[in-house]
């Protein structure tokens, strides 16, 4: 399959596909981070995660419309406000869901899966009813359009670079929050031993609620970033949910580093293969590879050792 290309062409194909893979990687990381926090830290399967992401995307869309219509002079900066709004909207919805539904189901993980699937159906239909079934796309501000030429055959899009920078910033922020703040310490304590954490005075219910809210909020930001590279419809979230779950499980559910490593592996494998095979075969081979590796190594790539 390599025979038809010259060496230089092959090189730039790999770089370009690698870059496309990096954009996919950013979206995976952003989605998987939220999921890894919720699934890895709390053991809850949130099938509605994609819908929280889409909520963020819609918030971004409406913010952009608002800026376009009322304060066009500040349009270049709307994205930063949109991101914050998306975080709080998705986070607030997440906390409400935790309070109404999830907290009754902590002892029945498989049932959470069904309940959140129901929630995702309701949210999808809600989006369809309220926002219409058509896909919407945001208008990018001028400074985000175009691409930077790197060499004759290789160029990179600015919006892609921006999404990557955003991903790095959010990942660092989450890592700091989880591993350096006292709140993060509480979360990790609850994960390792819920009873002991409660016994030393940590309000585990409150930690649960904020953890869930944080995970959903990050999903909202992911949705916000998602609008930069694609359009949004009521069912867009569902397209990514299986991939994202595989990313989280493949990485080892409780390790942020593992999540990032597995998102990188999966997205790079997929986008590189996509160039040489058809898109669907690339996806099948990637997913199949992940499933087979998971069958051989069910605990995922990275594991933290915890005495139970």
């Amino acid at each position: 399959m390599f025979a038809d290309y010259s060496l230089a062409e092959l090189g730039s194909i790999f770089v370009m596909q690698g870059f496309a893979g990096l954009i996919l990687f950013s979206v995976f990381v952003l989605m998987a981070l939220g999921l890894a926090i919720i699934f890895g830290q709390m053991g809850v399967i949130n099938m509605a995660h994609g819908e929280f992401m889409i909520l963020g995307a819609y918030v971004t869309y409406f913010t952009s419309q608002f800026f376009l219509n009322y304060i066009p002079s500040l349009f270049g900066a709307y994205f930063f406000l949109a991101m914050i709004l998306a975080f709080f909207a998705a986070g607030a919805l997440g906390m409400a869901v935790e309070w109404l539904m999830i907290r009754r189901l902590y002892k029945r993980p498989l049932d959470t899966l069904l309940a959140t699937w129901g929630l995702s159906l309701i949210l999808q239909q809600l989006y369809r009813t309220v926002f219409g079934p058509r896909e919407v796309g945001v208008e990018l501000p001028n400074w985000m359009m175009g691409s930077l030429p790197v060499s004759e055959m290789v160029e990179v899009q600015i919006n892609g670079l921006f999404v990557m920078a955003l991903t790095i910033a959010i990942t660092v922020a989450v890592a700091l929050l989880m591993y350096k703040s006292s709140w993060g310490k509480q979360v990790r304590a609850v994960v390792q031993n819920r009873v002991m954490a409660g016994a030393v005075g940590i309000d585990t219910e409150k930690v649960d609620r904020y953890t869930f809210g944080l995970g959903c909020g990050i999903a909202g930001v992911a949705g916000s970033a998602f609008t930069m590279i694609g359009s949004t419809g009521p069912t867009s979230g569902q397209l990514y949910i299986v991939d994202t779950f595989l990313v989280v499980v493949f990485g080892g559910a409780q390790s942020l580093l593992g999540t990032i490593a597995s998102a990188f592996t999966i997205s790079q494998a997929q986008s590189t293969m996509e160039f040489f095979l058809s898109g669907s075969m690339a996806k099948v081979l990637t997913l199949l590879g992940v499933v087979i590796i998971l069958m051989l190594r069910p605990q995922g790539l990275f594991v933290i050792k915890v005495r139970r």
Binding site: P109, L113, V195, S280, P298
Partner: protein, 390 residues
């Protein structure tokens, strides 16, 4: 070892329940519904096979598979491949570039019948394939995972990924599978026109008969020693393991059984509806099939059948009149069945109706109705580890 106090696998109340269901399906529904509606019921009943498999696999053994649509699809596709080959005889397809192969292959520039389609020229081999191919697939997946003690949530996610893979594969390999349209335009089964009204009625009764047979199999498994080991395993897997049982083998068995049951449903679906497409294989239909079992009651074999009929009936009537509302309804059903009535219709029946019916029938029969005989106890069917009290 618990010594069984009965020699026959059906208790009297089970027999009454099966008789009532059989009466409903064989006499009441055919007499009260017109042909069009009866075909709908026939279609719903094919999903009931899947729900039945899920009761054994999820309700009794605690293994939630979100990929049952894969097995339903495998069974359906096996049957569809046979029917398609029969309807693409050389005479019927002589306008094609290569006569004698299915039309979609011709459109995709395939000039020879692919290797994997060859066995489906024979009905006997097809029927064997309907039952064995899904079971074999389930065996590979189950063996790899249960031997490594993968279970619970991880198993659910991986089976879900398998459903996704299967759909993408079917859609992508258009020349071999018919792509997104599936395998359509199926006409005859060994020369017998399956599209006529009389054929559809006969197929309905065949479907009911097969379903009743599968129900008996399910009861047999449930009341056998194996069924008790499954329940024990669901509740305290380690104790069963320490008692010297190889837990993985039992799980693999029940998963394969559920796969075969689903596949029989899939094959009957193809026969009655006349086509098979990837839209019955993917993640969304697979999870929807779980809700049938959940609504009926995940611990009740007969409940699963009623649950399937009820959910599908609601789906059809809602989608006819208020298509917008159906997803709200389905979503609400998922949440309600988990939060409010985790044992489904069967649970409600045992809590509220059976105790009142008891005295009418002399008490003893219904009082010890079915496994979860203690209504107020909180259900913990999903094998969740009993975490400490909060």
């Amino acid at each position: 070892m618990i010594k069984s106090d009965r020699t026959f696998f059906l208790r009297p109340q089970d027999m009454i329940g099966i008789a009532i269901l059989a009466f409903l399906l064989i006499v009441i529904l055919p007499l009260s519904l017109d042909n069009f509606r009866l075909q709908f019921v026939g279609k719903y009943l094919t999903y009931a096979f899947v729900a039945l498999g899920l009761v054994l696999c999820w309700g009794y053994a605690g293994i939630l598979s979100l990929g049952q649509g894969v097995f339903f699809g495998l069974g359906g596709y096996c049957m569809a491949m046979f029917l398609k080959l029969e309807s693409s005889s050389v005479e019927a397809t002589k306008i094609q570039t290569t006569p004698g192969i299915p039309d979609f292959m011709d459109w995709n520039q395939i000039t020879e019948l692919p290797y994997m389609w060859q066995p489906f020229n024979s009905l006997t081999l097809t029927i064997i394939a309907v039952i064995l191919v899904p079971a074999l697939f389930a065996f590979i997946v189950g063996f790899a995972m249960f031997k490594r003690r993968v279970g619970g949530v991880y198993f659910a996610i991986i089976t879900q990924a398998l459903a996704a893979i299967m759909t993408i594969l079917i859609i992508g390999q258009q020349g071999y599978t018919g792509g997104i349209n599936g395998i359509t335009d199926l006409r005859t089964l060994n020369g017998w026109d399956i599209r006529s009204d009389s054929a559809k009625t006969i197929l309905y009764f065949v479907c009911v008969a097969l379903l009743l047979a599968c129900i008996l199999i399910a009861y047999f498994v449930k009341s056998s020693k194996l069924g008790r080991i499954l329940v024990a395993m669901r509740d305290k897997e380690d104790r069963v393991r320490f008692s010297g049982y190889d837990v993985a083998n039992f799980k693999v068995f029940v998963f394969c059984l559920a796969a075969s049951l689903s596949a029989i449903g899939g094959a009957m679906f193809t026969l009655q509806v006349g086509f098979m497409s990837p839209s019955f294989v993917g993640i969304v239909p697979s999870i929807e099939m779980v809700i049938y079992a959940a609504v009926g009651g995940r611990l009740s074999i007969l409940g699963a059948i009623y649950g399937t009929l009820l959910v599908n009936w609601a789906k059809t009537s809602f989608s006819e009149s208020f298509p917008e509302l159906w997803l709200f309804g389905l979503g609400g059903l998922f949440i309600a069945v988990v939060l409010i009535f985790p044992n489904g219709i069967a649970g409600l029946w045992q809590t509220y109706i059976a105790p009142r019916l008891g005295p009418l029938f002399g008490g003893a029969a219904t009082r010890r109705a079915s496994p979860p005989a203690t209504p107020p106890a909180p259900p913990s069917p999903s094998a969740a580890a009993p975490a400490a009290a909060e």
